[in-house]
C-alpha cells in the first residue's frame, strides 16, 4: 500500500501529507515530482496543499497543465483513488476532475482555524471507515476556499450523495456549507480542510485520520 504525494513547485503541505501517511498511519509514501509523466507504483495519489506555481493567474490554474496532472487524470479515469487537499482541491476543480470552483473567502481574508466538519456520507472510499453525521475537528488554512457551483451542479451533488463533508459553522461562505465533494465515480475527492493536520495526537486532533485510513482500507479490500 503506497501513497504518492505530488510535489508542485510551491506545494508546501507535501511533507505534512507524506508524514501523516508514513509516520502517523504507517503506510509507505513517496513524493512524485510535477514534471513526471507517470505516478510510478503509487496505489493512491494525494495532491497536497500549498501554492502550486505561486497560484499565479488563479489557484490551481497553472498546475492543471503540468505533466503529472495528465498522469493523474489517467489514473483517475482507471478508477484510482485521488485525494486533493486545499490547493489540491483547487487543482482538481481547475482540471475538471471535480465540479464547481473555489473563490475567495467571504471575508476576503486568509483563515487558519480549527473547524468542525459533519461527515455527510460514508459511501466513499475516503470516509467508509467513518460514521455518517459524525462531527470531525479538522483545521482549515486558506484564502480561497469558498465553494461555488451552479444550481444544477449543487442539486446533482446532493441527489447523488456526493457532498462528503459540510462545515458545521461555515467559515468561508461556501454554498451549501460544502467542505468536500466527490466525483460521480466516487474515486476522486477534494476537500478544503486539512485531514493530514489532524492525524497526530500532538496536533490537537486525530479526527482527520479517517480519510487516509478509509483509503488504505479500500485499497486493501481491492487486493
Amino acid at each position: 500500500m503506497k501513497f504518492g504525494v505530488v510535489v508542485f513547485p510551491g506545494s508546501n503541505c507535501d511533507h505534512d501529507a507524506w508524514y501523516a501517511a508514513s509516520h502517523n498511519l504507517g503506510h509507505r509514501a513517496e513524493y512524485i515530482w510535477h514534471d513526471s509523466s507517470s505516478l510510478g507504483d503509487a496505489d493512491a495519489v494525494i495532491l497536497p496543499g500549498g501554492f502550486s506555481y505561486g497560484d499565479y493567474l488563479r489557484c490551481g490554474a497553472i498546475a492543471k497543465f503540468s505533466p503529472v496532472m495528465a498522469a493523474v487524470k489517467r489514473f483517475a479515469a482507471e478508477g484510482g483513488l485521488v485525494l486533493g487537499i486545499c490547493n489540491g482541491f483547487q487543482i482538481l476543480v481547475e482540471c475538471g476532475l471535480l465540479p464547481g470552483a473555489l473563490i475567495r473567502n467571504r471575508g476576503l481574508k486568509f483563515i487558519c482555524r480549527q473547524v468542525e466538519l459533519r461527515t455527510e456520507t460514508t459511501d466513499s472510499p475516503f470516509t467508509a471507515r467513518g460514521e455518517r453525521g459524525r462531527i470531525l475537528r479538522v483545521p482549515i488554512a486558506h484564502g480561497e476556499g469558498c465553494y461555488v457551483a451552479d444550481e444544477r451542479t449543487l442539486d446533482e451533488l446532493e441527489a447523488e450523495d456526493r457532498v462528503v463533508f459540510r462545515y458545521v459553522d461555515n467559515p468561508n461562505g461556501s454554498l451549501g456549507d460544502i467542505a468536500g465533494v466527490l466525483n460521480r465515480q466516487r474515486n476522486v475527492m477534494g476537500m478544503m480542510p486539512h485531514p493530514e493536520r489532524a492525524s497526530d495526537p500532538l496536533m490537537g486532533s486525530t479526527d482527520g485520520r479517517v480519510v487516509l485510513e478509509s483509503m488504505a482500507a479500500a485499497l486493501a479490500a481491492v487486493r
Binding site: 510551491g10 508546501n12 483563515i111 487558519c112 497526530d200 500532538l202 496536533m203
Partner: protein, 739 residues
C-alpha cells in the same frame, strides 16, 4: 558621472569625516559607484556604527551556542545532532511607507537569513507596534498600516509554507508615524550541515542565483538609517517587492544544492544586495572577490553599475562553489526553474573588484567595507523622559467595569483577527500556536520541542530603559518557563529613535546594558539580532523599544495551556501577590487605559526571585502537576485570571492583602505564575524546594470570575461579560471605521 562633490557626499548620508576616511582608505577619490557602495555599507543599518561599541557588552556565549553574532543568524545546539538557527530583524521604515510589501519583504529577508545557513525555517513570530486604531486624526492611517502589515506577513509566510506561530501587538501614540515590524524566524538542521557566508578558495566561482536584479530597493539600507520627513513618501520606490513563491523555490533549491557538497559559502542578498553579500563573504573568508556586472541577470535594461550594486531586489543569493563542480549546482537550480550564473571568482588580493563589460568600476578592500566602517561613541546624557514621578489621585468607580475595559483594550484584547490570517500549523510541528504564553514546535527528528516567545515593553523602557530591558528578558523567560521550557538563547531587536540625540543615545546604551545584565543572569546569551535606529518622524520618536526573542528547550509533550480545565481545582499563584506602590503603578496598563497617564517607574524586578519562580514552574509543569499555567503580565492578576477563564471554567479567589484594590488586581509586578492543579500539596512542596511562595489563591469553578479580598467582593461576574469585550475589541475597532 563627474567629480564627487560635497553635495553628492551629503545626499549619500556620509559625513565629511567619513568621506575623508574613504579617501584615505582608497588612497584616492572614490568613483560614483564606489561612493554608493560605501554609503550603504557604512550606513547605520549595515554598519551598526552607533551601537557596535555597546553591543559588545552583551553576553554571546554558552555551551549550547554554536554560532553567535556576526553570521546571518545565531545557532544553538538542541541535542541529538540537531541545531536551530534563529534571528529577529526589523522592517520598520519600509512598513511605514508601504505596509504590505514592507512587512512581506521583512519576512522574506529573515527567512533567507535562516536558510542561507542550511536550516529549514519552521517558525516565524512577529512583534508589532502601531499607533492607536481609534485616534481621531491618525486612526484611519494606523488601521490601514495594521491591516497591510498583517496581510503582508500572512501573504509571504503562508505562501512560503512557514507557520507564523505567535508574537505580540502593542498600540501607543508614539508609533503613529513609526510603526515597528519585527520578525523572528527559526529553522532547524543537522549540526554538522551548517553553511557559512564565507568566500574561500582561490579561483572558486562566485555564482548568482534567484530572482533577476531590478531597480527596486536602491538605498533601502540608507533609508532605514534616517528619520522620516514629509518627503519620505517619495521613497516608496526604495521599498522592495516580494515574491514568496520565488523564495520557496529558492529555499528548496538551496537546501538541495547544499546536499551536493559543492557549495563552499553562501549568503543571501538582503540589505545592500550584491554589495553586501560580496564584500561580507570576502571579508569573512579573508579573500578578494571579482565580479562582472554584465553577467548579472537583470530584469530592466540600461541599469548602471551603481544601480546593480545597490539594488535590493528580493529572493537572490550569492554562492561560492568548488571550482569544477559548478554543473552539479546548476543542475539543481535548473530543476527548480531558477537562474544560476557565474558572475565572478574568488581572488587572493582581498579586494572587491567590480567590472562592467571588462572595465573596472569599483575596487575596494573588502575589509574596508565590512569591518572598517566608522564606530562612534556618540555623546549621551540622561535618557529622554518627560513623564512625572508622581501620578494622579484616583479611585475606581467599578473594578469590574475597569477589568472589562482593560480586557477590550489594544494591548490585551484577543489578537485572533491578526493570527487567524497566518497559517500557524503548516509543517505540522506547532503543538502550541498563537494565544498562549509561548509558541511550541516539536522537532520531528529528535523528540525535543522548541518554545519561543517575544517580549518588549516600550512604556517600561521609556520610564527606565535599563529596568525595562531587564523586565522584557525576565518576562520572555517566564513565558517559556510557564510552558515548561528551559530558556537557552536569545535574539534582540533594538528599536530606537535618532542616536545623534544624546538623550536617545542614553536610552539605547542603558537598554543594551540592562538587557546584557539580564541575559547573563538568566543564561540566555544573545546570538544575533538587529538594531533599528532613526525611528522618528517629524522629530517625534518611538519609546525605546528593545524587543527580545528567546528560545527554550523541552521534551515533546502535549502542551499545558492557559485555560482552566476542570472546576474544583486549586488555584495557586507561584510568587505570591507581589508588591506595588503608587510610583510603580504608573507604568501599568491600568494607568494607561483607565487613567490615561504614564508616570513613575516600571515594576520592581528581583532577578533572583524571578529565577526561582521560573525554576519552580518548570519543575511543576514537567512533573505534570499543572492543568493550566499562565504568567502574570499586562493587566496583572485580574487580567491573567480572566484570560485563564475564557475556556469556560472560571474561578473564585479569596485573598488577604493590604494593597489597595486597584493595585492588588492590576499591578504588574513580575515573577508570578498562575496555575491550576488537583495536587496542591505536591505543588507547594516543589515550590518550597525552590524557596518560592505558592499561594493557594482560590478554586476554579464553572462560569464565573470572582475575586474577594478580606471578605470584600472586588469582582464578581459571568465569564461572558469579560470574554465578550476581549474577544471582539480588535475586530470591532478595525471594521467599525471604514477606511
Amino acid at each position: 558621472m563627474g567629480a564627487i562633490t560635497a553635495e553628492l557626499v551629503a545626499t549619500h548620508q556620509l559625513s565629511e569625516a567619513e568621506y575623508a576616511r574613504i579617501v584615505e582608505l582608497l588612497g584616492r577619490e572614490p568613483t560614483y559607484t564606489e561612493l554608493g557602495i560605501f554609503s550603504v555599507m557604512w550606513s547605520e543599518h549595515c554598519s551598526y556604527k552607533s551601537s557596535r561599541l555597546h553591543l559588545k557588552k552583551l553576553p554571546t556565549r554558552s555551551k549550547l551556542v554554536v554560532q553567535g553574532p556576526g553570521e546571518n543568524a545565531g545557532i544553538i545546539d538542541i541535542g541529538d545532532g540537531y541545531a536551530i538557527a534563529f534571528k529577529i530583524e526589523s522592517h520598520n521604515h519600509p512598513s511605514f511607507i508601504e505596509p504590505f510589501q514592507g512587512a512581506a519583504t521583512g519576512v522574506g529577508g529573515i527567512l533567507r537569513d535562516i536558510f542561507t545557513m542550511g536550516a529549514r525555517p519552521i517558525a516565524v513570530l512577529d512583534s508589532l507596534r502601531f499607533g492607536p486604531l481609534d485616534a481621531p486624526r491618525t486612526g484611519p492611517r494606523n488601521r490601514r498600516i495594521l491591516a497591510g502589515v498583517v496581510a503582508g506577513i500572512a501573504h509571504y509566510g503562508n505562501c512560503f509554507g512557514v507557520p507564523t506561530v505567535g508574537g505580540e501587538c502593542v498600540f501607543e501614540p508614539c508609533y503613529n508615524g513609526n510603526p515597528l515590524v519585527n520578525v523572528l524566524a527559526l529553522g532547524v538542521f543537522k549540526k554538522d550541515e551548517i553553511f557559512y557566508a564565507r568566500a574561500r578558495g582561490l579561483g572558486n566561482p562566485v555564482i548568482y542565483v534567484g530572482a533577476k536584479t531590478g531597480r527596486d530597493g536602491i538605498h533601502g539600507a540608507s533609508m532605514a538609517s534616517a528619520e522620516f520627513t514629509e518627503e519620505s513618501k517619495q521613497k516608496r520606490p526604495n521599498v522592495q517587492v516580494g515574491d514568496p513563491f520565488m523564495e520557496k523555490l529558492l529555499l528548496e533549491a538551496c537546501l538541495e544544492a547544499m546536499r551536493t557538497g559543492a557549495i563552499v559559502g553562501i549568503q543571501d542578498m538582503g540589505a545592500a544586495g550584491l554589495t553586501c553579500s560580496t564584500c561580507e563573504m570576502g571579508s569573512r573568508g579573508g579573500a578578494g572577490i571579482e565580479i562582472e556586472l554584465a553577467r548579472v541577470p537583470q530584469r530592466e535594461t540600461g541599469m548602471t553599475p551603481y544601480e546593480i550594486m545597490l539594488s535590493e531586489s528580493q529572493e537572490r543569493m550569492l554562492l561560492v562553489v568548488e571550482k569544477g563542480r559548478e554543473d552539479e549546482v546548476f543542475r539543481v537550480y535548473r530543476k527548480w526553474g531558477l537562474d544560476a550564473v557565474t558572475i565572478g571568482e574568488v581572488t587572493g588580493d582581498g579586494l572587491l573588484r567590480v567590472k562592467d563589460h571588462g572595465k573596472v568600476v569599483a575596487e575596494i578592500p573588502n575589509r574596508a567595507l565590512a569591518d572598517e566602517a566608522p564606530i562612534y561613541d556618540r555623546p549621551r546624557t540622561r535618557p529622554l523622559r518627560t513623564a512625572p514621578m508622581e501620578g494622579p489621585e484616583f479611585a475606581s468607580r467599578s473594578l469590574e467595569q475597569d477589568l472589562a475595559v482593560l480586557l477590550g483594550s489594544g494591548d490585551i484584547a484577543n489578537t485572533r483577527w491578526i493570527w487567524e490570517q497566518y497559517d500557524y500549523m503548516v509543517r505540522t510541528n506547532t503543538t502550541q500556536g498563537p494565544g498562549g504564553d509561548a509558541a511550541i514546535l516539536r522537532i520531528k527528528e529528535t523528540g525535543a520541542s522548541v518554545a519561543i516567545a517575544l517580549d518588549g515593553n516600550g512604556r517600561y523602557c521609556y520610564l527606565d530603559p535599563r529596568e525595562g530591558a531587564k523586565l522584557a528578558v525576565a518576562e520572555c523567560c517566564r513565558n517559556l518557563s510557564t510552558v515548561g521550557a528551559l530558556p537557552v538563547a536569545a535574539t534582540n531587536c533594538l528599536n530606537f529613535g535618532n542616536p545623534e540625540r544624546p538623550e536617545i543615545m542614553a536610552q539605547l546604551v542603558e537598554a543594551i546594558e540592562g538587557m546584557g545584565e539580564a541575559c547573563a543572569f538568566f543564561e540566555t546569551p544573545i546570538t544575533g539580532g538587529n538594531v533599528s535606529l532613526y525611528n522618528e518622524t517629524l522629530g517625534e520618536g518611538v519609546y525605546p523599544t528593545p524587543v527580545v526573542g528567546i528560545v527554550g528547550l523541552m521534551k515533546t509533550a502535549a502542551p499545558v495551556t492557559i485555560h482552566f480545565k476542570q472546576p474544583g481545582r486549586a488555584l495557586m499563584l507561584l510568587g505570591g501577590l507581589g508588591n506595588c506602590d503608587a510610583t510603580r503603578f504608573g507604568s501599568s496598563q491600568y494607568a494607561k487605559v483607565i487613567l490615561k497617564q504614564l508616570w513613575g517607574l516600571p515594576p520592581a524586578l528581583d532577578m533572583e526571585c524571578e529565577r526561582r519562580v521560573q525554576a519552580a514552574a518548570r519543575e511543576i509543569v514537567a512533573a505534570g502537576l499543572a492543568e493550566s499555567a499562565h504568567d502574570l503580565s499586562d493587566g496583572g492578576l485580574a487580567v491573567a485570571l480572566a484570560e485563564c477563564s475564557f475556556g469556560g471554567i472560571g474561578a473564585a479567589l479569596d485573598l488577604a492583602s493590604d494593597l489597595r484594590p486597584e493595585h492588588l488586581l492590576f499591578h504588574e509586578g513580575p515573577s508570578r505564575i498562575l496555575i491550576s492543579t488537583d495536587r496542591p500539596d505536591e505543588v507547594s512542596r516543589m515550590a518550597r524546594g525552590h524557596g518560592v511562595e505558592a499561594l493557594i489563591a482560590g478554586v476554579t469553578m464553572e462560569g464565573v470570575v470572582r475575586i474577594g479580598n478580606r471578605g470584600q467582593v472586588l469582582i464578581d461576574c459571568a465569564i461572558e461579560r469579560l470574554r465578550e469585550p476581549w474577544d471582539t475589541a480588535l475586530e470591532a475597532s478595525l471594521s467599525s471605521h471604514a477606511g
